[in-house]
């Protein structure tokens, strides 16, 4: 899927400007990474893409396959096959994972998905992710560890089959083994669906050992300050974000 953000400005409801002239273009099948210090607006960006009502876009536009999605609500964007694996997935009491996910899949496909075929797919996907299968009958994320919540996000991805995938701090909460399993699943998904565009948001490079990006963007204070190849990530890891700041005012990107 082709995804474009064109000079977006966004603020929170209490009028704090968080995204400031943010632009990005991802071609079908490309993997991009956004790195940046805490509080720079990375999660905000992901939620603005998903149409969260916590933020107001004051300027700019956003497109998938050259069609503006700015007027679409969260549900509609999801049905356009955008998927956000959230940084801190919330828990919802009393709604089982399987009930939720089957409802979600049914509404995305606009037809009722049969219990039997659904359960079979759930079981297989959970097995792929090395998740305990009783988790499908538990309330969404309730009592799940940080890592289990992240796996649960990827489980949802596997079932809902997005064309544009945003991973917000996927590695936080996941131990080394789990991170590898989760990334293997994502890589498997990419190889089966090579047109999937991916935006990885992270402030560590750990995840990039498993999923190789084409571009690395450095985001500081609501805006991309520098764009480079994979090597830029390694540079950041060694020198920190401050080095970008020094040169950034002068640097431009496409």
């Amino acid at each position: 899927m082709d995804f474009t953000i064109d000079h977006i400005y966004a603020k929170s409801k209490d009028d704090k400007e968080i995204l400031k002239d943010f632009s990005l273009h991802i071609l079908p099948g490309e993997i991009h990474v956004i790195m940046g210090p805490n509080g720079t607006g990375k999660s905000t960006l992901s939620k603005v893409i998903m149409g969260s009502k916590d933020y107001v876009v004051t300027k700019g536009d956003m497109f998938i396959d050259h069609e503006s999605i700015l007027s679409l609500n969260t549900t509609e964007r999801s049905r356009k096959k955008i998927f956000l694996a959230m940084q801190s997935p919330i828990s919802i009491e009393g709604v089982t994972n399987s009930e939720f996910l089957r409802t979600a899949l049914s509404s995305q496909l606009e037809k009722n998905v049969g219990i039997y075929e659904f359960m079979k797919e759930m079981e297989k996907s959970m097995n792929d992710l090395n998740m305990n299968s009783n988790m499908m009958h538990r309330s969404i994320n309730q009592g799940f560890s940080g890592g289990e919540r992240k796996k649960n996000e990827i489980l949802q991805m596997k079932i809902l089959k997005p064309k544009f995938l945003i991973l917000d701090e996927l590695d936080s909460g996941l131990d080394v083994d789990s991170l590898k399993i989760v990334c293997d699943n994502i890589n498997q998904y990419i190889s089966e669906n090579p047109d999937t565009s991916i935006l990885i948001i992270t402030h560590y490079t750990r995840i990039l050992d498993y999923i190789k990006p084409k571009y690395v963007h450095i985001m500081i204070d609501g805006k991309i300050m520098k764009t480079g190849a994979f090597s830029l990530a390694k540079e950041i890891e060694e020198k920190g974000f401050s080095c970008v700041n020094e040169v950034s005012e002068a640097s431009t990107h496409e």
């Binding site: 969260s52 959230m86 919802i92 009930e99 939720f100």
Partner: protein, 439 residues
């Protein structure tokens, strides 16, 4: 039986009701004494403001052919169709026995034959008082006194219909018994009276269902339910009341629990205008246990004033109250409960958990708990939460493709899951449908 309608109330009219029912003197006596109490007692000094014109209420209504039948084919065709349309006939398949009350009289009663062989009694209260006076006089009016409150006094003076159940010692029923209550007339008052005795070492699951179509004039439902749970016995009583929104629902429900007995109230309040209902357990026997799980949905100016009362008398007694309230559209859902661990009830424990979900800014909710712990070896745990449907939860569900209505519905159903999981499958499904209609 003759057909007639009794409007307004005085001693003569009470005698008339008693005469129609060909009651024994002790019952008439009890009615008249209760009527005096009704006149003396004021409205409850707490909760919603009640305004009932007692002169306009129909206290009794029946038709000639309304004698108790045990075969649907013998029942008036239009009534049968009406009951069928609300699923009553269908539900019988899942039960060991069923009773149906239409207005003031029980019109249908049927029970599996093998239960009769086991000496299980499941009949109308009138027949119970007549045929089993020994049991009746021992328990009737002893668990809920006619002086308890204005509406228990009213019920005790004009009661008509309701169930009389006796489960002999060492008897377990495989499936529930159910009674279904329907009000179909304007201004009709329904005053059913239920007495359940689960003798020692036995088990009963009883389900009560009730509905009324909507009329412009209001109706009154003032029931009394008395339950005795014997030694080592277990009783579970579940209700989902879906009265029309102009029925005032003022009900007194109480169980007396003997040694090692267990009582469970599962109480859902979705319909009615004003509801005041606080199912109670008197934990008299040592090691007895009481549980009350309620949900209340107050929509469109409804007032649900509900909760539970747990009175601990015996040693090592235990109680649990779980209350889930939902308020929307200007409704008021109030939890009003009481846990009273008496001095004698050493080593007892109580847990109260009330959660409220408020769906908009015009609706209200209140939590009014009274917790009294009368000795230092016992403890009461209390937890209360009030929440809105959080934008964060909606965002999460919608980001997976659910529209906002479906997402809201899932969150609400999730909120009351604790209640739903206590219901048999068919009722859980029915509850979902009711909630969808009401939310």
């Amino acid at each position: 039986m003759i057909s007639l309608e009794i409007v307004g109330l005085d001693a003569e009219k009470i005698k008339e009701i008693s005469k129609i029912k060909q009651e024994d003197d002790w019952v008439l006596d009890y009615r008249l004494k209760s009527y005096d109490l009704f006149l003396k007692l004021g409205y409850p000094n707490f909760g919603p403001s009640i305004n009932i014109d007692f002169d306009k209420v129909i206290y009794y209504k029946s038709r000639e052919e309304d004698s108790i039948k045990n075969n649907w084919n013998d029942i008036n065709c239009s009534i049968r169709n009406e009951l069928d349309s609300v699923g009553v006939l269908e539900s019988e398949k899942h039960l060991d026995g069923m009773g149906v009350q239409y207005e003031s009289e029980v019109i249908y009663h049927n029970m599996l034959e093998e239960l009769t062989k086991k000496n299980v009694i499941f009949t109308s209260i009138e027949e119970g008082l007549k045929k089993y006076p020994d049991i009746a006089r021992k328990y009737f009016g002893k668990i809920v006194s006619n002086s308890d409150n204005k509406f228990s006094a009213l019920n005790s003076s004009v009661f008509s219909g309701g169930s009389f159940i006796y489960i002999p010692p060492h008897t377990k029923l495989d499936r529930p018994l159910q009674s279904y209550f329907r009000i179909n007339s304007r201004s009709m008052g329904q005053f059913e009276r239920t007495l359940i005795i689960v003798d020692d070492d036995s088990e009963l699951y009883y389900i009560e269902g009730c509905t009324a179509p909507n009329y412009s004039e209001s109706s009154l439902h003032a029931a009394v339910v008395e339950i005795y749970v014997g030694k080592r016995s277990k009783c579970r009583y579940s209700t989902i009341q879906n009265w029309a929104t102009n029925v005032d629902n003022l009900v007194t429900k109480r169980a007396l629990v003997d040694e090692d007995g267990k009582m469970e109230w599962i109480d859902g309040n979705i319909g009615s205008n004003i509801t005041m209902k606080y199912p109670a357990c008197i934990l008299k026997g040592d090691r007895s246990e009481g549980t009350c799980i309620t949900i209340s949905v107050a929509a469109n100016k409804q007032e649900q004033d509900t909760g539970s009362r747990m009175i601990h008398l015996g040693k090592n007694t235990k109680s649990t109250i779980i209350s889930k309230s939902i308020a929307r559209g200007g409704g008021n859902a109030t939890y009003r409960g009481k846990v009273d661990i008496k001095e004698s009830a050493i080593h007892s424990s109580a847990m109260v958990k009330c959660d409220t979900l408020i769906l908009d800014s015009v609706s209200k909710s209140d939590t009014i708990p009274i917790n009294i712990c009368g000795n230092d070896s016992s403890n009461i745990e209390h937890e209360a939460t009030v929440s809105k449907i959080s934008d964060e939860k909606l965002f999460y569900l919608m980001s997976r493709g659910l529209d906002s209505e479906k997402a809201t519905e899932l969150i609400i159903l999730g909120f009351i899951e604790k209640f739903r999981e206590e219901l048999p499958m068919e009722y859980a499904v029915e509850l979902n449908q009711l909630l969808k209609k009401n939310l």
